[in-house]
Amino acid sequence: MPALRIILLFFLIVCAVAVSFSRRLLVSVSIYMAFSLVMAIVWLILESPDLAITEAAVGAGVTGILFFVMLKKIRSIHTNIMAENGADPQEQNAAVDRDMED
């Protein structure tokens, strides 16, 4: 089934390019998780179930969680800084969003 292989590989490349062009970091991280899942499927097709299960647990699971918690941590650090500077909440959120964008 070369057609399926080519489609999956094409999807991988599209994901990789999309990561660098997406404006919001949250979107980039989600795309990366999709990338990992598709990579796991590709490895399943390549008869390497060990790799597939590891990639699904690690790439799409733990690494994704760590990315999310890192983004959330950055946001809370940011909120602290803004609060110290005495900015009002509306402005804070706008600033965080700006910061999370590229």
Binding site: P2, R5, I6, L9, F10, L12, I13, A16, V17, V19, S20, L25, S28, V29, Y32, F35, S36, M39, V42, W43, L46, E47, S48, P49, D50, L51, T54, E55, V58, G59, V62, T63, L66, F67, M70, L71, K73, I74, I77, H78, I81, D99, D102
Partner: protein, 140 residues
């Protein structure tokens, strides 16, 4: 050019992904995207290795029905290498994420270029300050 370019889709995709990841790692000013680029680069290498281990029409390297002949299973070596490699890459990316948090706490930005520019300026001012102090000492 060799002839394999028309059959090795996996390897070609791996090469393209490798270059995309490498460029993300080198060119993106944003640290988070740099880390994602790093992960993509590593994944690409593992895809290449896994594709090298595949043999048409054979099974995954787990014994089934007591068949011990090497003609029924694919090459297990690349899979082992990739398993080791995945652990390495997840450790490295966790470390990079921790560094990113610390950098953000220190400089309030995720953009490495901005941080470098800020440092440049600080260094310059520090240099001038030291020079002025030294000149003051020299005069007295």
């Amino acid at each position: 050019m060799g002839s394999s370019i028309f059959t090795n889709y996996e390897e070609i995709a791996a090469v393209l992904l490798f270059v995309i990841g490498l460029m993300n790692l080198l060119m993106q000013p944003n640290l988070v995207k740099k880390i994602i680029g790093l992960d993509i680069m590593d994944c690409a290498i593992y895809l290449f290795l896994a594709a090298k281990g595949y043999i048409q029409g054979r099974m995954a390297p787990i014994y089934v029905d007591g068949i011990l002949s090497a003609d029924h299973y694919i090459n297990p070596v690349p899979a082992g290498l990739v398993l080791t490699g995945i652990v390495v890459s997840v450790s490295v990316s966790a470390l990079m994420m921790a560094l990113t948090i610390c950098l953000y706490r220190e400089y309030h930005t995720l953009n490495l270029d901005e941080i470098m520019m800020l440092l440049h300026k600080q260094e310059r001012e520090e240099e001038l300050r030291l020079l002025s102090e030294g000149a003051g000492e020299g005069d007295t």
